[in-house]
């Protein structure tokens, strides 16, 4: 699997995930979703369970996992440190 293909798949899935989020927050808050080709595959209780299911089903590794939650996280000082730029 090429890492850039994985990153592209994750970005595309994340865009689709954001569209699904309002409904998911109602139905499965705090759970983890497995996504593939911008579609929701299944909901899991843990990130590792979602990852294991994705690895078992999709040999090419082009899937992603997202936690059903709202809002961004804070890294405190390092969220705002000027010499620490976004990856």
């Amino acid at each position: 699997m090429v890492l850039s293909a994985k990153r592209d798949a994750i970005a595309a899935n994340y865009e689709a995930f954001e569209q699904m989020l309002p409904e998911l927050l109602r139905d499965a808050p705090g759970k983890f979703v497995l996504l593939r080709d911008r579609r929701l595959v299944e909901v899991f209780d843990s990130a590792s369970a979602a990852h294991a299911a994705g690895a078992a089903r999709f040999d090419d590794g082009l899937f992603s996992v997202q936690k059903v939650k709202e809002g961004a996280v804070s890294l405190g000082f390092f969220s705002y440190a000027r010499y620490c730029r976004a990856a």
């Binding site: 699997m1 890492l3 994985k6 990153r7 994750i10 970005a11 899935n13 994340y14 843990s46 990130a47 590792s48 990852h51 294991a52 690895a55 590794g61 992603s64 996992v65 997202q66 936690k67 809002g71 961004a72 996280v73 804070s74 890294l75 405190g76 000082f77 390092f78 969220s79 705002y80 440190a81 010499y83 620490c84 730029r85 976004a86 990856a87």
Partner: protein, 153 residues
């Protein structure tokens, strides 16, 4: 209950950790397998009670050849920015002295799964992992005025 102890420099607290990626979670159950696990490197973590979540520098991600699992927003000056995150567990090393006086590391892998975002501190960053409250809140952190710290969990 393990006690992880070490010195601090009165301004920052660093601790050695290992990072177990999601593909190797089963290794945590077997210390023999754990010691032979590829990519198992000791990383330098900065303890940061101001960080909500544990995160990993881009430099360490490249060093460990980690694969991202998804994306997460991180708060910043101009609103959130979006970063890849990695699913992993954190382990601490407790140095135990054997009968010959040698200090052997004993690994303590936390059960907690972490979805840790990647961030770029440049290649000059003096740490690999930012140890946030998701990990620190599982134990008791004591910072002593005599220049040492203890994390018990």
């Amino acid at each position: 209950m393990p006690d992880i102890v070490g010195p601090h420099n009165s301004s920052q607290v660093f601790v050695d950790v290992i990072l177990l990626p999601v593909e190797r979670f089963e290794d945590a159950l077997d210390p023999q397998r754990l010691s032979k696990a590829p990519n198992l490197q000791v990383l330098r973590a900065l303890i940061d009670t101001g960080a909500q979540v544990t995160s990993i520098t881009q430099n360490a991600v490249q060093k460990l050849k980690l694969e991202p699992s998804g994306m997460v927003g991180i708060q910043g000056f101009a609103g959130p920015s979006y970063h890849p995150f990695y699913i992993f567990k954190i382990g601490f090393m407790e140095l135990q002295e054997n009968e010959l006086g040698y200090r052997n590391p004993k690994f303590h892998i936390l059960d907690k799964e972490i979805e840790g975002p990647e961030f770029d501190c440049g290649i000059d960053a003096d740490f690999d992992v930012l140890l946030g409250m998701d990990v620190l809140s599982i134990g008791t952190l004591t910072i002593s005025p005599t220049g040492s710290f203890k994390f018990s969990f």
